[in-house]
Symmetry: C2
Subunit: 387 residues, 2 copies
């Protein structure tokens, strides 16, 4: 086990109607709030009005920036930064899923920076100051509600890049399972794939002696495996939504990487695909991850053996370790397929013509991954397996 620092001061309000006291939370941090959101759904379902009314009553002034899209755009971030600087906004409230929260985080950085916020996403300089942010989460997926990560797409350069700093940890996040109950089936599936992917990326670690954290990772995976299919039969079930929502937070609040090196190569590879083709992130991950697994599993067959037995209940009797490991990988693929997630890039009509470009960009700052370090040719090989 590696040394680690665990510090997660984000305050989580979990449960029904937990957005009822949001003005009290926000007023601890600011008096002029920029509300960032995605679709207009939060206006038609009364959520925006509920928040706005609370703000008016509490004497909190608010501005708004809607229209955040999946694979959120740098251009939207720039809009938000301009508003914050012009209007002297002192707090940002994200109402939405990971794309909205990641946009809010990028705006929070840009509002306190004289240059272009994209600098930080291109590894130029270190974030030293941000506006505080809070979240009302409406989609279980990215874990962005309880970590300091932000992923933004720059459509000019066709780049999708991440930053991560404790400064971007939300002050609070409101997680009401009922607010996720109207997420359509496909995005519910993409969210669950994303959650599983986050756990994989911490579970498949080169670090030895991580028994407890591995078991906790398996707990999250087993929950998605057990509850996910039930949720798809009853999308508005509060209890199932609650399990998946809390799984999403646990999957990437970084508790599952305590003491471990991680391997986010599959996310890195997927970012290159969606930076060019604008496909749903969870869809891309469902395609890439089982192929990544097949490409790397021999690095530590024992880990994949445990994965197969503990998560997928593969019976190892009379089988070689290699067979058991491969059956676990096949079970992963079969699970994603059973949820309705795609398994090939062909599903999105993506061919092999840009594989070299994607592999090149993916490794522009050096090899990716930690379980197995992947050079450009490795990334290209995995992408070819995905066609």
């Amino acid at each position: 086990m590696n040394n680690f620092v665990w510090h997660s001061p984000c305050k989580i309000f979990f449960g029904a109607y937990t957005q009822a006291d949001i003005a009290a939370e926000c007023s601890q941090y600011g008096k002029k709030v920029l509300i960032v959101y995605g679709s207009e759904r939060i206006k038609s379902n009364g959520l925006f009005d509920n928040v706005a009314k609370q703000f008016v009553t509490a004497g909190i002034e608010y501005l708004q920036l809607g229209g955040v899209l999946p694979n959120p755009r740098l251009s939207t971030v720039h809009e938000g930064v301009a508003i914050c600087k012009k209007e002297k906004v002192d707090f940002i409230l994200a109402i939405g899923g990971g794309s909205v929260i990641d946009t809010a985080k990028a705006i929070a950085v840009g509002a306190k920076y004289s240059g272009d916020v994209w600098d930080f996403y291109m590894n130029k300089g270190k974030i030293t100051e941000t506006l505080p942010i809070g979240c009302i989460l409406t989609l279980a997926a990215t874990g962005s509600e309880c970590n300091g990560n932000s992923v933004i797409s720059n459509w000019d350069s066709k780049m999708k890049r991440a930053v991560g700093t404790p400064l971007l940890l939300p002050k609070f996040s409101i997680l009401d399972p009922a607010l996720t109950a109207t997420v359509p089936r496909d995005h519910t599936v993409y969210g669950m794939v994303d959650i599983m992917a986050h756990v994989f990326e911490q579970y498949f670690s080169p670090t030895k002696s991580t028994y407890l954290v591995d078991r906790m990772s398996e707990a999250v995976m087993k929950t998605v495996v057990a509850i996910g299919p039930k949720l798809l039969t009853k999308l508005d079930d509060y209890g199932y939504r609650a399990e998946i929502l809390w799984s999403g937070t646990q999957a990437l609040n970084l508790s599952l990487s305590c003491g471990k090196d991680t391997d986010f190569a599959s996310h890195d590879i997927e970012h290159e695909v969606s930076a060019i083709y604008d496909i749903p992130h969870g869809g891309g991950l469902a395609i890439i991850f089982p192929n990544w697994m097949k490409y790397v599993y021999k690095t530590d067959i024992n880990k994949f053996y445990n994965f197969a037995v503990n998560v997928w209940c593969i019976d190892p009797k009379g089988k070689s370790d290699d067979t058991v490991a491969l059956e676990g990988i096949e079970a992963t693929r079969a699970f994603f397929t059973s949820l309705g997630a795609p398994s090939t890039l062909a599903h999105y009509k993506i061919g092999g013509d840009k594989i070299d470009e994607m592999a090149e960009k993916c490794t522009m700052f050096g090899p990716v991954g930690g379980f197995k370090k992947l050079e450009k040719q490795d990334v290209a090989a995995i992408l070819k397996m995905c066609l």
Copy 2:
């Protein structure tokens, strides 16, 4: 799942030599520190000197209060409160196990209170202000390093009582597995029993639909079951100590009670035993818990069935649910016995003569427990099973 608030801003430094920067942490909160500790072991092994030297270099003045005993005494708390008030101490550093941390917490409350701090332990009034505290943990057991609980014994009234408030959450805790490597075998065992007990008390909940948190609870239990016996064969093994240390924190940082009602009746009952007989807390729990389980399991056989199958790998084939549940309880007893923990109060030469007094005091503020509410006669019945 119930609504819940999860907020755990304690900063954990986990790993080898993580005490090396303690002055930097302490200086964020105060310039005059009371160091609270137990045995003189921390002076002979260099830990105290290491901290003291850092304080001198950083210009932090320090005072010290040693001699905290297991089942920590209110009299020691009073000593500490007097020092803090007289010397205008602004930060308390606990170096030790749960007893030391709980004493430091009680002193932190008393230092900001004009009356007797015991008032709060007797449910008189609400804690509204405390000194900040930090910890260097030297024993894996209570989880006090990452929660706001404190348990103190009053030897005048033979009462052992708890308080809990987020105000008492340590600002930081330093968890170096190497500092726990010299804990003797018996206290290592008591610590592991305490850890298991904490998980039981959150796992056996009356709340339904708690799938993920139940699996995470099982992850902690499985770790103690798998690693505990190995640790006892090699008490100074860093990796094993690390697993048990992190298990202790996870077991009672309250993440395992997110969305659940809990049942701390066994702790309540044990407190009455050790308040009179001053037995080791973990020893008392090892005796009481399997009997509590036998007394209550029919309240929710399904829960005990899952416990048996998921934690103890009991094969349920061809057995009634009742049999499987009872086999899980027997496995719990057998595990504690295999570690060398006691199974009857007779082990401590405790007879039945004070059972009525203990049951009376245990339920003085009403029935205890949540999985099954226990009245005085229930507590007495469980204690009789323990003889």
